[in-house]
Every structure is written in structure tokens, then in C-alpha cells.
């Protein structure tokens, strides 16, 4: 038994055991047992994934376990990368969940679904046959749906979010099902190995059809615009440990599907496929972060940011496909490595951010940034954790996302000579990534500055308390991962580069020394560690100089500048809404926020104002244009359909009789 098999066996065993334990163990210890089980399961997956990324392979087949298709698993380096990411997220959220689930979320059903959801996410990248893949995919969808609905008794919005999620994830499944079945119909059997062989001989039209249909399904799972509508609903309404799992691990599998089908099974394909992927990615990145930048709900904002980050990943994947089609394999490897590294980074910081947001909700019961603030006093560790996550997410050095976005920009910049289409596409892609980076900075300055700094804006925020140790331990682990990825990406990049090179068929796209990342074949280097060291030296030197040169008198406590009008109250502060107002106004053509201002005048005189009421709503425009007409048509159908069912049993029996007759007549006619 090699390491991959051992790791995977551990993961499956502990996953199943903790699901069983959830049913058997009594409530006080349940969340602890399940949480630890998930953590061990995740650790096994990390070991298996990393071993698979370094080239070990393992496969498992049980032809009789499932009728018709059987069960086939095989792990290659690409699957290993996603397996390891899921495992890492599972370790951290498992530990976090021990404390988080106590009090409301430790029911049997929720606790049993958690390990099953984690296990399903681990098995998707390991599946090596159409039947197995779809089975695991559906298991992942169903368990996550039940978890999203965990708090449906407490908040009515959860049910609506669950409905959106259920419908969209299943429409996505249908799309993937159609695509893969058409594919399998043209192959000798339904294993991926057979599809890979068949993929080389498919007609371009059929291959494009398969790619596009599966792209719809996978993009909806990854929350890509315009199929993102479920994501900002389901992620905030799910419990925060589930949000972290969905946002950091599950959406990645959408990208996995695109890469697996596009690069591996269909063997690359035409340039326009990848142009489409790149365009969708760029659109999602900008649209997602724009919604996040003007949003005020902390968890919804993080959900929109997931759309943004998956968009950035798809820009990388699309660029890799374009470069492969034009024959620049090294560049393709670079773009793919950037995309994979961004997936790893995103998993780390999004887990951390959702966990800290969960701690905030746990402590205050509020998600609205406009009523938070001042949490740094009551929850210093959570504040530090969110700060680290925000820095990692906003693509500034020394943050983790900076390294992956740097690699992506390098790939885009050097891709300019790749052809005329590249002349138009690459600068626009760079601009989209840059605008995304800029808006991400604004988003996270807002989320951190308004939510955690300043003065508390509500009583709940004022009396916020720090989270239990297990939640802090989970956040600490995630924060350590963020810092590690930010300072020492040199440790993971060779492996990720090799995986990316394997996917597109190039050599290692990056050369790595102990501290410096350098591009292969192009001039370009970056050293996140030395940059951070330089920054720290600069900080220390400045501090020392300031100490030496400034006066030694002790600091005096001073009143804040209040224009001489008495003490400032929390109502005078900038809120998240007012913070984002300039951005909202700049991008008004895109977001089209609806605002009403109601001024009530004084009875005596119209010049005196008694009250002003301000309402703002930011509707999702894509949703309004695309989904509402469809929903309206569905509602009409529903009303028409209702006429068929007036409640008379005679009529229903009549329906049965006539349809049976029609069927028999049809059979007679066709035979």
C-alpha cells in the first residue's frame, strides 16, 4: 500500500466513522467527536493529495458496487491537488466546528452530514469514471444542501437560499450529466481512461458541445457569472463552518471539472473555448468584487468575493488554454500554475475569513457591517485573524494572493506576442485583474476597518466576547497557513508548478530558489520572503529612528477632533454604506442601486425637517435581467398547470385512464 492509498483509506474510514459517531454519540460530546474525526479525515486527504501531486498514483475499482457503471477511483497529480486543498480546509474547519457547532448545530442530522459532505468533496477529484463522478457530485450537492438548511428554523431567509441552491445545483448536475453521457456514448466505456482515448478522435463540433454543456454545470458550481445567483444566497445563510467548506473547497471543484474535461479528457480543444472561459472569468472577477465592494453584509460580501476569486482562477485557466492552443506551453504552464496557486491561497484565506465572520456572528448575532464595529476590543484574536485574512485576500504584499496574482499577471504580460486576439484580450484581462485587485483592496479595507475597528455601532457589538478555544485554534491554523503561503510560496510552488506543467504538457514553469521565485524562459523574479524581511527591517528602523529623534515626554491622551461640538457618537461614524458610496456612485451604470430619500417636514414650516428616511437596495442586475423573466414564465406555467388539478379525484383517475390509452395507441401505431 503506498502513501496515497493509506491516506485515502484513513480519510474514508474516519469520514464514515465520524458520520456514524454523529448518530451514536450523545449530544455533549458529539460535536467534539465529529470535529476531530473530520480533522483526521482531512489530514489523511492532505497526505494522499500531496503524495499524488508528487507523482504517486493509486487506483481502486469495484465493478459490482454500482449497477451499470461500477465504481472507479484513480488519483493523478491534478486530482491530488484538489484533494489536498479539500483536506486542508477540512482539518481547519473540523477543529473550528467543535466549538462552533455547540449550541444549535449539534443535532444528529447536521453532524452526520458534515463528514459526509467533506468525504464527497474528497471523492469527486478521485473519481475516474462518469458514473462515480456523478454519484460523488450529487452526494456533495445533497449533503451541502442539507447543511445550508441547518438553521432554517431560526431564519426564514434560509429556506429561500436553500431553494435557489437546490434548483441551481441540480440544473448544473443535469448539464454535466448530459455532457458526460454524450461523451461516454462516443467512447468504449464510461471510465475516464476510455474518454481520454475517445476525446482525441471526437469531431470538433461534438467536442465543443460537450465542453460547453459541462462548462455550464461546472461554472454554476464555481459561482461564475451569470450562474452565480445561488452563491451569495447560500454562503451567508449556511452555518459558518459550512460556508468555509463550500467557499474554500466546494467551488474549487467547478474549476477542477473544467480543467479535467477541457484539458485532460478533451485534450485541449480550440482557442475560442478558452477565450470564453477567460472572458467569463474576467467578468465574474470584476462583477463579484464590485458587488462585494458595495455590499454591507459581512458573509454575503465574502460570498461575492468567492465569485471574484474563482473568476481570477478561470482567467488563469482560460489563459493557459489559449496559450496551449497557440503552442506556448511554458506560458500555459505558468498561467495554470498561477490558477492552481490561487486556488490554494483562496482556500486558505477564505476559510480564515469565513471562520472569523462566523465568530463575529457567534458573538454578536449580527452580519450587517453597519451595525458592527469596535470588535478589536472585545475580540482581539478574531480581529487579528480577520486582518490576516483580509491582507491575504487583497493582493498586497506580504499577502498570499499577491504571489498568485503576480504569477497570473506575468503570464498575461508575456502572452502578448501570442497573436492578434491576444493583443486585445491580454491587456483587457490585465485591466480586469487590476481593477479586481483595486476593488478588493477597497472591499477588505471596508470589511476590516468598518467591521472591526472604530467604535461599536450596536449594543451587541459593544458587548462582543472572544470565541471558545477550539474556534480560535481553527482560525489560528488557517492564519498560519495564510502566512506560510504568503512568505514561503517557494515551498509549494515547485509541486504546483509540476502539476500545472503536467496538465498542459510543459516543463516546470517557475524556478524556485530558497527565497526567490523566478520565471522559466522569461526575465522576472519576486521574493515574498525577502520583501517582507525588508519591510520588517524598514519598520524596525523607522521605529528606532522615531524613538531616538522624537521627544521622550510620555504621550498625552487627547480628545478626538469633534469640531468642538461635544463627544462623538457612533452614529456620526462612517458606516459600510457610506464608505462604499463613492464607489457605488462611480459604478452607478453597472450596479444601479435603488435609493429613496423620504423627508418629513415639520408641521409648522416646510423649511424645517422633522425626519429623513433613507433606503438603499442594490439589486443584482444580472439576476434581474436573466433570472426574473425565467421565473416569471415558470410562475405562469405553474398557474396554468394548477388548472389541471382542481382537486377532483374523478378527474385524476380520468387523466390516468386517458394517458394509458394514449400510450397504448402510441405503441400500436409505432409497432
Amino acid at each position: 500500500m503506498n502513501t496515497v492509498q493509506a491516506g485515502l483509506l484513513t480519510a474514508v474510514t474516519f469520514g464514515l466513522l465520524s458520520a456514524l459517531a454523529a448518530l451514536l454519540v450523545a449530544r455533549p460530546a458529539r460535536s467534539a467527536v465529529v470535529g476531530m474525526g473530520i480533522a483526521v479525515c482531512g489530514a489523511g486527504a492532505v497526505v494522499a493529495g500531496v503524495a499524488a501531486m508528487t507523482g504517486q498514483v493509486a487506483s481502486f475499482a469495484a465493478p459490482d458496487l454500482l449497477p451499470l457503471s461500477g465504481v472507479v477511483f484513480a488519483i493523478d497529480p491534478l486530482g491530488g491537488a484538489f484533494l489536498a486543498v479539500t483536506g486542508g480546509v477540512a482539518v481547519v474547519t473540523g477543529i473550528y466546528g467543535i466549538g462552533y457547532c455547540r449550541g444549535g448545530l449539534d443535532g444528529r442530522l447536521v453532524q452526520c452530514m458534515l463528514p459526509l459532505f467533506v468525504l464527497a468533496m474528497m471523492l469527486v477529484p478521485a473519481a475516474a469514471g462518469v458514473g462515480t463522478f456523478l454519484l460523488c457530485w450529487e452526494l456533495m450537492a445533497l449533503t451541502s444542501l442539507l447543511l445550508v438548511l441547518a438553521e432554517h428554523r431560526r431564519r426564514p431567509e434560509v429556506a429561500s437560499a436553500g431553494r435557489w441552491y437546490a434548483v441551481m445545483t441540480h440544473l448544473g448536475l443535469v448539464a454535466i450529466l448530459i455532457g458526460l453521457l454524450v461523451f461516454a456514448a462516443n467512447a468504449t466505456d464510461a471510465t475516464f481512461a476510455a474518454l481520454r482515448l475517445a476525446g482525441q478522435h471526437l469531431s470538433p463540433g461534438l467536442a465543443a458541445l460537450i465542453f460547453l454543456v459541462t462548462l455550464i454545470g461546472f461554472a454554476s458550481k464555481a459561482g461564475i457569472v451569470p450562474l452565480h445567483a445561488w452563491l451569495p444566497r447560500a454562503h451567508p445563510e449556511a452555518p459558518s463552518n459550512v460556508s468555509a467548506l463550500m467557499s474554500a473547497a466546494m467551488v474549487n471543484l467547478g474549476v477542477y471539472g473544467i480543467v479535467r474535461v477541457g484539458f485532460d479528457l478533451l485534450g485541449g480543444g480550440a482557442a475560442w473555448w478558452w477565450l470564453l472561459v477567460l472572458a467569463l472569468g474576467a467578468l465574474s472577477a470584476v462583477y463579484g468584487i464590485l458587488q462585494a465592494a458595495i455590499g454591507t453584509d459581512l458573509k454575503r460580501l465574502l460570498g461575492h468575493s468567492t465569485t471574484e476569486n474563482m473568476g481570477i482562477v478561470l482567467v488563469g485557466v482560460g489563459a493557459a488554454g489559449l496559450f496551449t492552443a497557440s503552442g506556448d506551453l511554458t506560458l500555459a504552464g505558468l498561467a495554470m500554475a498561477a490558477a492552481l496557486l490561487h486556488i490554494v491561497n483562496h482556500a486558505a484565506f477564505k476559510t480564515l475569513l469565513f471562520q472569523s465572520a462566523g465568530s463575529v456572528v457567534h458573538a454578536t448575532g449580527r452580519r450587517d457591517l453597519d451595525s458592527l464595529g469596535g470588535l478589536r476590543d472585545g475580540m482581539p484574536r478574531t480581529t487579528a485573524a480577520f486582518g490576516i485574512g483580509a491582507l491575504s485576500a487583497s493582493a498586497l504584499p506580504p499577502g498570499a494572493a499577491f504571489v498568485s496574482e503576480w504569477l497570473l499577471l506575468q503570464a498575461l504580460i508575456h502572452g502578448l506576442p501570442a497573436g492578434v486576439s491576444a493583443t486585445i484580450v491580454m491587456p483587457l484581462a490585465v485591466a480586469a485583474v487590476a481593477l479586481t485587485a483595486g476593488l478588493a483592496v477597497a472591499t477588505f479595507v471596508k470589511a476590516f476597518g468598518v467591521g472591526f475597528l472604530a467604535r461599536p455601532r450596536s449594543r451587541e457589538a459593544e458587548s462582543a466576547h472572544e470565541s471558545p478555544p477550539s474556534m480560535l485554534a481553527g482560525m489560528g491554523l488557517a492564519a498560519a497557513a495564510c502566512i506560510g503561503l504568503a512568505l514561503l510560496p517557494t515551498l509549494v510552488l515547485p509541486t504546483i508548478g509540476a502539476v500545472a506543467g503536467g496538465v498542459v504538457g510543459s516543463g516546470d514553469p517557475v524556478t524556485v530558489t530558497a527565497t526567490t521565485i523566478a520565471l522559466t524562459d522569461f526575465a522576472g523574479s519576486l521574493s515574498p520572503l525577502l520583501l517582507t524581511v525588508a519591510l520588517v527591517i524598514g519598520l524596525v528602523a523607522t521605529l528606532a529612528a522615531a524613538r531616538a529623534l522624537a521627544t521622550r515626554r510620555a504621550a498625552r491622551e487627547a480628545r478626538l477632533w469633534d469640531c468642538g461640538a461635544g463627544p462623538l457618537s457612533a452614529r456620526m461614524e462612517y458606516t459600510a454604506t457610506s464608505f462604499a458610496e463613492p464607489l457605488q456612485r462611480v459604478f452607478d451604470d453597472v450596479v444601479q442601486a435603488e435609493q429613496d430619500v423620504d423627508v418629513t417636514h415639520h408641521r409648522e414650516s416646510a423649511y424645517l425637517v422633522e425626519a429623513i428616511e433613507y433606503h438603499r437596495r442594490v439589486p443584482d442586475r444580472i439576476e434581474r435581467r436573466l433570472y426574473e423573466p425565467v421565473l416569471a414564465v415558470m410562475a405562469v406555467w405553474g398557474r396554468v398547470g394548477r388548472r389541471l388539478a382542481p382537486g377532483s379525484v374523478h378527474r385524476y383517475l380520468g387523466y390516468g385512464f386517458y394517458s394509458l390509452c394514449a400510450l397504448l395507441i402510441l405503441l400500436v401505431v409505432t409497432r
Partner: protein, 318 residues
């Protein structure tokens, strides 16, 4: 240690000293020019240094209800400027730290400083702090695309985003400097640098009117030595940006080898170039009024289009 790295280290130290020492003088020069053009006598170019000395001697104050974020922000702001001053090729292209960071990293570092200040503004919990932070982050978000597209345009002919590589290639091939690519990118960069450093017409550094403040609103609560650091850092930011602009588009004079006269020449060239750019900026500011905040995006969008044209030109004219 071999010879180039000795000169590299010397170059790093020299650059740091020059940027720290001359930044306040640059601000002084610009204020003096402005004063003269407006018919005032002006305080002399040494006034910013005298202001800094005065501020350093004042007692520290810690505004009630602020946290560590507020106290660390000025240090971080200065530190980011120091790192950029050490890394970028101002006096010599042989900086020992060149492989550490490229043009993207330099831009991102300078943004990091602004972010620290915006967070400090929010941390105070006053309306002014929030207002400044909100406006500043809006401007950063819009500046970033132009900045990166302009970098793109500059790095395409060279095939690298490393600063030393871009500067050296400009030296090797002077025709490249006067190409349409370079000129378009230069105009785009000038606009965003004006926005990033908070000069007219985007922000008025000498205003204290709440309707018009951006940078000044964020730093309203700082006083004494902390304010000195913020002031020094904003002077250094201006110098660093002007220095980058100068050396990316007019690289002549920068030291490429390690002999003493060449480095002295490099120092002189850097000082002259930054002084000329500062003078031009100051003269231009006399004739400009501040734009309304919501007209600024139009200005930045214009510069973004120029950046895109530069990239297109770099491809079609290559």
C-alpha cells in the same frame, strides 16, 4: 563579496539617504515655486525639514479610542517608502535587492502604505477619518488598472517587469524612449501618479476644507512625531513616484557600472530629474483647480484609455 554587490549595497544605502534627505526639500522646492508664482515670498525650500524638526519635538498624543492600527500605520507607511527607495533603480541599476521585487511589487507596496493609512483613518471612528479613507480607497481602486496597464505597456518591449531591465533597455535603445508606446504610457502614468500622491487636480495637499480633503482627512488625528512621519512619508512617496517616472522614461545618467564618478553622476542626474519634474508639477498646479471628487473617475478613465492605447501600440508598432 564580489564587486557588483558591493556597489549594489552602496547604491541601496545611497538611494535611501537621498530619498530620505531630499524628499522634504522637494516639497519645499515645490511650495517655494508655487509661492513665487503666486506673488508671495515663500518660506524657503528648507521649511519642510524645519517643520519636521518642530513636530518631532512636540509631545506625542494618543487620541482616545484608537488602537494599535492607528499607531503602527505611520511606521508602516514610512517602511513601505523605504523598501521602495532601496529596491527601485534611482541612482544605480545594480541595486543588490533588484531580484526581490519588480514594478508590480513596488506599486503594490506603495498601495499597502495607503491602505495602512486608510485603516488608521477608519480606526479613529470620526467622520473625517472615515471620509478620507472612503475617498482614498475609491481613488486607489480606480488608479490600479491604469497603473498596471501602463506597466504592461512598458514591459512588453522589454519582455520583463523587472525595474532594472526596463531602465537598462531604455539606455541601450534610446529610440524606444521616444516611441508612441512610451509617450502614451508616460502620460497615463503621470495622471495616476498625480492621483496616487494626492496632488492637484485630484487632491489638494494644502486644503483643510472638509468638502475637498482626501489625504488630509485621513491624517487629521495625527500630531507631533506621528504627524512628522506621515508628512515625511508622503514627501518620500512623491519623490519615489517622480523618480520612477523619471527613470522609466528618461533613464540617462543612471549608474550602470560601479565606479565612483559614475555613481556620483547617477546621484546628480537623479536629483536634477526629480527637481525638474517637481518644478513642472508645481508650475502646473498653480494653473489648476481641484476637480470635484466625482469628476476624478473620468480623468482616471481617460488615462486608462491612454494606457490601453499604449499596449495596442506596443504590439502593432513592434
Amino acid at each position: 563579496m564580489n564587486a557588483p554587490s558591493v556597489y549594489g549595497t552602496v547604491g541601496v544605502i545611497l538611494q535611501l539617504l537621498i530619498v530620505i534627505g531630499l524628499s522634504p526639500l522637494l516639497i519645499g522646492l515645490m511650495r517655494q515655486i508655487r509661492a513665487r508664482l503666486e506673488g508671495r515670498a515663500g518660506p524657503g525650500i528648507g521649511q519642510p525639514w524645519r517643520d519636521l524638526r518642530k513636530l518631532m519635538r512636540k509631545q506625542r498624543t494618543s487620541p482616545r479610542g484608537t488602537s494599535e492600527v492607528f499607531r503602527v500605520a505611520p511606521l508602516l507607511l514610512v517602511a513601505t517608502c523605504l523598501v521602495v527607495a532601496a529596491v527601485a533603480p534611482f541612482v544605480t541599476t545594480a541595486s543588490a535587492l533588484d531580484p526581490v521585487a519588480d514594478l508590480f511589487a513596488v506599486v503594490a507596496l506603495l498601495t499597502l502604505g495607503t491602505v495602512a493609512l486608510a485603516l488608521a483613518g477608519l480606526d479613529t471612528g470620526t467622520a473625517f477619518g472615515g471620509m478620507g479613507a472612503s475617498r482614498e480607497t475609491t481613488i486607489i481602486a480606480l488608479v490600479e488598472p491604469t497603473m498596471l496597464v501602463a506597466i504592461f505597456a512598458l514591459s512588453v518591449p522589454v519582455g520583463s517587469t523587472n525595474l532594472a531591465a526596463i531602465v537598462t533597455s531604455g539606455l541601450d535603445d534610446p529610440a524606444q524612449v521616444f516611441s508612441p508606446v512610451s509617450l502614451l504610457a508616460a502620460v497615463a502614468l503621470i495622471v495616476v501618479i498625480i492621483a496616487e500622491t494626492g496632488r492637484l487636480p485630484v487632491d489638494n495637499p494644502s486644503t483643510h476644507l472638509e468638502l475637498t480633503m482626501v489625504h488630509e482627512a485621513m491624517v487629521l488625528e495625527y500630531s507631533g512625531p506621528d504627524l512628522a512621519m506621515v508628512e515625511l512619508a508622503s514627501a518620500m512617496r512623491l519623490t519615489v513616484f517622480l523618480g520612477l517616472l523619471a527613470n522609466l522614461f528618461v533613464p540617462w545618467g543612471i549608474a550602470t557600472s560601479g565606479s565612483v564618478p559614475v555613481i556620483a553622476m547617477g546621484v546628480l542626474a537623479f536629483v536634477v530629474k526629480v527637481a525638474v519634474l517637481g518644478t513642472a508639477l508645481a508650475v502646473g498646479e498653480v494653473f489648476l483647480a481641484k476637480l470635484r471628487l466625482f469628476r476624478v473617475p473620468e480623468l482616471l478613465a481617460g488615462s486608462f484609455v491612454l494606457g490601453l492605447l499604449a499596449v495596442a501600440a506596443s504590439f502593432f508598432l513592434a
